[in-house]
Amino acid sequence: MALEDLQHNFLTGQVEDLVRWARRASVWPATFGLACCAIEMMAAGAADYDLARFGMEVFRNSPRQADLMIVAGRVSQKMAPVLRQVYDQMMEPKWVISMGVCASSGGMFNNYAIVQGVDQIVPVDVYAPGCPPSPETLMHAILTLHEQIRTGEILRRREEHRPTHIQPDSWTPEVPVAVRVGTPK
């Protein structure tokens, strides 16, 4: 096919850009509301804040149809394996927003019951501060994630982000399962 056969104008570009653009514009979050932040997450999806503007209004109830897990609220030791399971059920590519200080670092609940940061269980892409973050903060986190997706690489899987302080031999390509004491049976 020669160029002179073309009937219309055309643009050249990279497939990567197209994929990134498409991914960025249709991130579907899984409903993973845990505590106070879940209410603000719902408020963000409702009329006043209207996440539909960012192509995000479709909260999937099944993790298998979702790309993004918004961990909204404190993660207890009992919930940690469940959260990990839901994350494992999600298809690649997948992203995680840790919404609120409790999910990000344990927040004010530095005690026996709460996992001190959901990043001990699943890898987190964006942290949203606040207790609870207002819907605007959540939106900012979402837009930050969009930017990350738009500028990131499309093929590299998460496991290839090897931390430098761990020797390659001892590194196993999985994030830790759960911090709960005595999970194996």
């Binding site: 030791q77 009992k78 005690n111 004491v181």
Partner: protein, 179 residues
């Protein structure tokens, strides 16, 4: 703890509630210690007292919780009550008389154990499970004494005073993360 107890404030149920007639003999009563009327039965008198109170019109078991007085064996109690480490506190509510009453049982020190109120108030089921889960207080006659809030394989009873808060030191930089 000093013996004075809180001063009475306006409102609440400051009036003294007499023991119901069918209560077991010898139950110690105090109105000076608490803002609600308080009864201090022994574990043997406990079930009979609560049954008598229920017959007397206390239809609702509002609350049941445990307290661990590990550091306060010298707390203010009426004369004749032997303090033990664990206490079970039951708040009963009478809808018809619009009063509350509090029952405090000395549940024991080594292996705290009291009777279950399940047969009188089925609604105490979850609250007793909670007291078992968080304090290790055993309830005789409870149909399903399993953990309720903590994971099944959790060790220890977290609200006991000798159980650490479980605080993890906060590290701000150079912390070796899990990843």
């Amino acid at each position: 703890m000093d013996a004075g107890g809180p001063r009475r404030s306006k409102g609440g149920n400051a009036e003294v509630i007499p023991l119901p007639p069918s209560a077991p003999p010898g139950v110690l009563t105090s109105d000076a210690l608490a803002s609600d009327a308080g009864f201090f039965p022994t574990p043997d008198q406990y079930l009979a007292l609560v049954r008598a109170l229920k017959d007397d019109g206390f239809e609702l078991c509002a609350d049941l919780c445990g307290v661990d007085y590990l550091e306060h064996f010298d707390r203010a109690l009426p004369e004749g009550v032997t303090p033990t480490r664990f206490e079970v506190v039951v708040n009963l509510l009478s809808l018809s008389k619009r009063v509350r009453v509090r029952v405090r049982v000395q549940a024991g020190t080594k292996e705290p154990r009291v009777d279950s109120l399940f047969d009188l108030y089925p609604g105490s089921e979850a609250m007793e499970r909670e007291a078992f889960d968080l304090f290790g207080i055993l309830f005789d006659g409870h149909p399903d004494l399993t953990r309720i809030l903590m994971p099944e394989e959790w060790e220890g009873h977290p609200l006991r005073k000798d159980y650490a808060v479980g605080r993890v030191p906060v590290q701000f930089k150079e912390a070796p993360g899990p990843r």
